[in-house]
Symmetry: C2
Subunit: 299 residues, 2 copies
């Protein structure tokens, strides 16, 4: 299976950004194309503003549009859309299209909320659980961004037969206003701290690959996006999209500019790895009850 | 908290090996000392031979011995012993001593079995669950070797209030007999494949640190140990013991020779990290039922 990752910038409007996305897709030659989180617009969760809910009004048109794109280019396409389900119920939803047909959708289950990433304001937690999506290229374990910090999500996808884990993502460093002294911001913005965050983000996902014997595809935004509210200067999305093999090894990795990664993934290598490293065989399901709890207090 | 990791070789007999361990401990100046898996003897699980069960006969004497050592050096000491519980019931058990007192024990929960690591022959699965052990240096999430591939084990320790994850370990590369052509052995023994295995082992544990916002201490054997059964040449234990901070960053790392690592761990850094990266806040405990199952079949 050949996969293309579209790591791109925001171009100031939905139309311009989508045009660029389609142009980039047209340059690929893969069976599967994965887009970044909320790829149609700027990452609007940098602040809490009700005006951004309007972005979800075109949800049904968006579905039709990307369905057509997947048909036109004869691909399986993983998109990340802002779903309006009802007034007051919105989701961060990954739609997967298979050559013009809807293969399935995943509603982001773990919703973050921290400075610059105010997603709990916009998105209701997903209620579809962790269900892999069957497509003509394989059974895809599609998750979204914050999910990547949760071994539970990756494991459940594996236990439900996912053949690959896929994460559309929007992650980056906060840019502090230059006229403001903010302890958190200053601490995070040393070069060393930035590298530590980036490494942590990669490490945890390499962990998912290893623990589950599955390849991982992660597509992140790139470029700087201003915070219109003025609380922060903005976010510098760190790119670094990557593809891992089932031992957590890098198959490909992007830098910090707009780019397309294309790489071959051998789904058979997972099957072989799981024979040599049979982690799934030895799980102690009799002793995992605490995982269902918020916290397992000390006795 | 200052911690010392004793990464050592096997010296041909229990007596010589223990003498060396004690000598190495005497050179440390730490509050917590962690020994490698089954540190008293050779890693005998390279083959299945009933004679090795005799090693467990001195279990109670061993406890007394290491308890005395922890008292003598005024340390918290994490050991890894071969426990005889009854005829036919043996465990791979980590005993933790606190300045002469028994702080607690952990019986290895996940038991491996693959060529050269025939642990299911020797060890009954632990039945004490994943319970951190309270000591004068903190609440220790002691796990053993194969456990390190299981995000479930790390997570449960975190949810039970562990302040650090600790893994005594015995892992290495198989050495193939030179007169034998074995596909698995040959495949594993390229330099590239060896590096991939080592990286995977590190990656999955960095993942545990990140996902749980906890430091990780892993102590591995080093040196080559012959397989007396002659099926394999032996195992080359790869050392590379390490200490990670709560973002999965290396605080210290050993090479492939016998050595002592000593490093300061700031348990407060976990507390701070969990404020910035509040992963535990957003777990979807309503949707993790599949984790209790062996496999969650496709509908």
């Amino acid at each position: 299976m050949k996969v293309a990752l579209i790591q791109q910038k925001y171009y100031g409007s939905k139309e311009k950004t989508i045009n660029k996305t389609v142009e980039m897709i047209s340059k690929t030659n893969s069976d599967l194309v994965v887009l970044q989180e909320l790829h149609q617009n700027e990452y609007f969760c940098k602040s809490e503003d009700t005006k951004f809910f309007d972005y979800a009004d075109d949800y049904k048109k968006d579905i039709k549009f990307w369905s057509n794109i997947s048909k036109k280019f004869d691909i399986v396409l993983v998109t990340s859309l802002f779903e309006k389900r009802a007034d007051g119920i919105y989701h961060n939803t990954a739609y997967v299209f298979d050559k013009g047909k809807i293969a399935g959708k995943y509603r982001k289950m773990h919703i973050p909320d921290d400075p610059g990433f105010y997603e709990k304001f916009y998105f209701t937690e997903g209620d579809l659980g962790f269900e892999p999506i069957n497509t003509s290229v394989g059974r895809l374990g599609v998750l979204v961004c914050w999910d990547q910090w949760y071994p539970e999500a990756a494991r459940i996808m594996a236990l439900k037969g996912a053949e690959v884990l896929i994460y559309p993502t929007a992650i980056g460093w906060l840019e502090c206003p230059k006229n403001r002294i903010d302890e958190l911001c200053e601490k995070e913005n040393t070069k060393e701290e930035k590298q530590k965050m980036l490494d942590a983000w990669i490490s945890v996902q390499r962990g998912h690959a290893v623990a589950n014997g599955l390849p991982v595809i992660t597509v992140n935004r790139v470029g700087s996006e201003k915070d219109e509210s003025g609380v922060l200067e903005g976010i510098e999305f760190w790119g670094n999209s990557f593809v891992l093999g089932p031992q957590g090894e890098f198959l490909a990795r992007a830098g910090m500019k707009e780019e397309i990664i294309e790489v071959e993934i051998d789904l058979n290598s997972s099957k072989e790895i799981r024979k040599i490293w049979p982690f799934l065989r030895d799980r102690r399901i009799d002793s995992y009850k605490c995982l269902q709890k918020r916290y397992c207090e000390k006795k």
